[in-house]
């Protein structure tokens, strides 16, 4: 009975959890390996996060906000610029200098006038546009999405981000993109109305408002990593995966300890259970 039930339960999970979504027209995300991908042991590659931050800062941040990120996050344990010498990220001189490079809006406490001042670790990443309407107006009518939790907000997570960034291509013959939009086979959408070819061979993907943001040599990596589109995309996707859940490493470390403890606890309880019940026929 127990075994039968477990089989049913497993079957049920397979049924429900499996193909939970209907088909989309986009290509499946690219298969790419991440250092943090293993759910139990995976860790972020700090050098990669540093390069990823540079890509975000020099490219993405021109249009995309990261409203949930503070500069201090960069120096917290597990972060791109964490330094064990500075357990308090607000004291980390490198984080301070990174923040100092960026100007943020403030109010002059004496005059009440709006001013710009260099950021401190306690400041949020400033948004590129003052409000959503301004962001939409400058970007073809649709505000670029906030990137704080982007890696958790899309199926495929960082692999999706990587696929989009590296997936731009010329539209196949017979497909005319809408003006100001770009064809990307990894972007969920429907291009049927712009397709003049055979109706059963509509290309996958959709039109995205974002022009291809990356190019070879666009970001110079301090550690000498070749500045290819693929490297830039991979590093910024890793950075966004970290930013979406900065406590991920803490979760895994804590979790492994907790699970080992629970396993031992279960074993002890089972032994205790067997001893208590050994004289009962049931």
């Amino acid at each position: 009975m127990l075994r039968k039930g477990l089989t049913f339960a497993a079957l049920g999970f397979a049924l429900i959890a499996g193909p939970a979504l209907a088909d989309t027209t986009s290509l499946p995300v690219k298969d790419i390996h991440w250092s943090f991908q293993n759910p139990v042991f995976g860790k972020f590659d700090q050098a990669q996060l540093q390069r990823g931050y540079k890509v975000y800062r020099e490219v993405c941040s021109a249009c995309h906000s990261m409203n949930l990120m503070y500069f201090r996050n960069l120096g917290q344990p597990g972060g791109p610029f964490y330094d064990p010498k500075y357990p308090n990220p607000n004291d980390n001189p490198y984080v301070k200098s990174l923040a100092h490079d960026i100007m943020v809006s403030d109010i002059d406490s004496d005059t009440g006038d709006p001013i710009k001042r260099p950021a401190t670790p306690a400041d949020k990443f400033p948004a590129p546009f003052p409000n959503e309407a301004a962001a939409a107006a400058s970007n073809g009518g649709k505000a670029p999405p906030d990137l704080s939790v982007m890696a958790k907000a899309r199926e495929g997570g960082p692999a999706y981000i990587y696929s989009i960034l590296t997936g731009f291509q010329d539209p196949p013959p017979g497909l005319t993109p809408m003006p100001g939009k770009f064809y990307n086979p990894y972007f969920p959408g429907d291009v049927t109305s712009n397709w003049t070819g055979p109706a059963n061979k509509v290309p996958p993907g959709g039109f995205i408002n974002m022009p291809p943001p990356l190019a070879d040599g666009k970001v110079t990596f301090d550690d000498g990593t070749p500045s290819t589109v693929s490297n830039e995309a991979r590093d910024v996707a890793a950075f966004l995966a970290w930013a979406a859940e900065p406590k991920q490493e803490e979760r895994k470390t804590f979790g492994l300890g907790a699970m080992i403890y629970l396993l031992i606890f279960s074993g002890l309880l089972y032994a205790s259970y067997r001893r208590i019940w050994r004289n009962v026929s049931h």
Binding site: M1, L2, G5, F8, A9, L11, G12, L15, I16, A17, P19, A20, L21, A22, D23, T24, P39, V40, N67, L68, N73, P145, D146, S148, V149, K152, A153, R154, E155, P188, A244, E245, P246, K247, E250, R251, K252, F254, G255, L256, A258, M259, L262, L263, F265, S266, L269, Y270, S272, Y273, I276, W277, R278, V280, S281, H282
Partner: protein
């Protein structure tokens, strides 16, 4: 709470307290010395597991409420602040979010166990109905809790579910407006959902107390379904079932931990990490997995009011089950005919969940176009869910009463102590088997 008490105060303080507030006596009689059938299997441990689930949800929920802000502009960010800045906030929030799913896994197993072993039959009808009330309250609480993070799924899920009530004739619109506190799901809705989400778990805890009370009057059912005949059939709850439940709980926590620590977002939906936007609905609106079977029943009916009524009917039928079932034998262990229908019923519930996760027009078997009947394509989720919903209701309303009247059950043992005599799973019948099994 039932029968005579065997508690004898030992110390002077216990005697003093026992005359004034016999709380130790009550604990002793209901939780320690309570005579419990000695043949309960692991399916019976889910009662204890559920109590733990409720405890976890209440403790983590009270903590989350210390940091959460029920305001449309801040709700999403306050949840993310819990994840990012609050000490161990990620742990508490993931425990609460995944705890809801664990709660429903446990409650579904608990319910199917009750169905299989006939735990709803006399004299346990009130016990069963209280359980159904707890289940309803759980669904309401889970739904409102899912709205609180104020992501895209939260918002549009709330829109869809509250609109269900709009199907009611005449009063429908007035009720939805009243529920929303406005003309759409908005700040007032979020505030009242937060308030009720905080309140209902304590109501659940109250009904759970009644549920346990109602359990302790007739005592536990057991896998044979045979009443306890003598003391030889029982063991004291402690230490026998405290340790068995404890072991089951720790194994359950291991599964819980896999989700919390290693795949915390697997049971959620990515769209709920996009802040709510009333102007754009996500591509696929899907409720949490534990609502999917009912969602499939809702969509199986092409009429709005009909779908809503059928969906609520699927739960309502549970309330009257004790009076629908005509069988004199409790446990399906001795009812091979209904057992077969019961396993099909479990499969049906899973199929309904499968349909609920897909678009109604999706093909069941991709690429096959031959199953058509007139204008209807039978190879679609909506038709599969129609067939499954039909079986769901037929199981309760037709199969259960008819099989009870027509079947020939296997011989039922005289007492719990001698179940092996007619256990269908056992081999050649032998009297020695009973005492050899240790």
């Amino acid at each position: 709470m039932s029968g005579h008490s065997t508690y004898e105060p030992k110390t002077g303080f216990e005697r003093w307290l026992d005359v004034r507030l016999p709380i130790i006596r009550m604990t002793y009689d209901t939780a320690l010395n309570f005579p419990t059938p000695k043949n309960l299997n692991y399916w019976w441990t889910f009662g204890g597991i559920l109590a733990l689930c409720l405890g976890i949800q209440i403790v983590t929920g009270v903590i989350l409420a210390m940091h959460y802000v029920p305001q449309v502009d801040m709700a999403f960010n306050s949840v993310e602040r819990i994840m990012r800045d609050v000490n161990y906030g990620w742990l508490i929030r993931y425990m609460h979010a995944n705890g809801a799913s664990m709660f429903f896994i446990a409650v579904y197993i608990h319910m199917f166990r009750g169905l299989y072993y006939g735990s709803y039959k006399a004299p346990r009808e009130v016990l069963w109905i209280l359980g159904c009330i707890i289940y309803l309250l759980m669904m309401a609480t889970a739904f409102m809790g899912y709205v609180l993070p104020w992501g895209q799924m939260s918002f549009h899920g709330a829109v869809v579910i509250t609109n269900l009530l709009g199907a009611l004739p005449v009063v429908g619109n007035a009720i939805t407006t009243w529920l929303w506190g406005g003309f759409a799901v908005d700040d007032p809705t979020l505030n009242r959902f937060f308030s009720l989400h905080y309140l209902l778990p304590f109501v659940i805890a109250g009904v759970v107390a009644l549920h346990i009370w109602a359990l302790h009057v007739p005592g536990n059912n057991n896998p044979t379904g045979v009443n306890v005949k003598s003391e030889a059939d029982t063991v004291p709850f402690h230490p026998y079932y405290t340790v068995k439940d404890g072991f089951a709980i720790s194994v359950f926590l291991l599964m819980f931990g896999v989700f919390v620590f290693w795949m915390p977002n697997a049971l959620g939906h990515t769209d709920n990490y996009i802040p709510a936007n009333p102007l754009v609905t996500p591509q696929h609106i899907v409720p949490e997995w534990y609502f999917l079977p009912f969602y499939a029943i809702l969509r199986a009916v092409p009429n709005k009011l009909g779908g809503v009524l059928l969906m609520f009917g699927a739960i309502a039928v549970l309330f009257v089950l004790p009076w629908i079932d005509t069988s004199k034998v409790r446990s399906m262990r001795y009812r091979p005919t209904i057992r077969l229908y019961f396993f099909i019923f479990i499969l049906t519930c899973l199929v309904l969940g499968f349909c609920g996760a897909h678009e109604p027009a999706d093909k069941v078997i991709p690429g096959v176009t031959t199953f058509t009947l007139g204008d209807y394509d039978l190879n679609t989720m909506v038709w599969l869910s129609r067939i499954a919903a039909l079986y769901y209701f037929a199981y309760f309303l037709v199969i259960t009463p008819l099989v009870g009247l027509t079947e020939t059950p296997l011989p039922v043992p005289d007492s719990i102590s001698e179940p092996v005599l007619s256990h269908p799973a056992s081999g050649p019948i032998g009297t020695a088997a009973a005492s050899k099994k240790g």
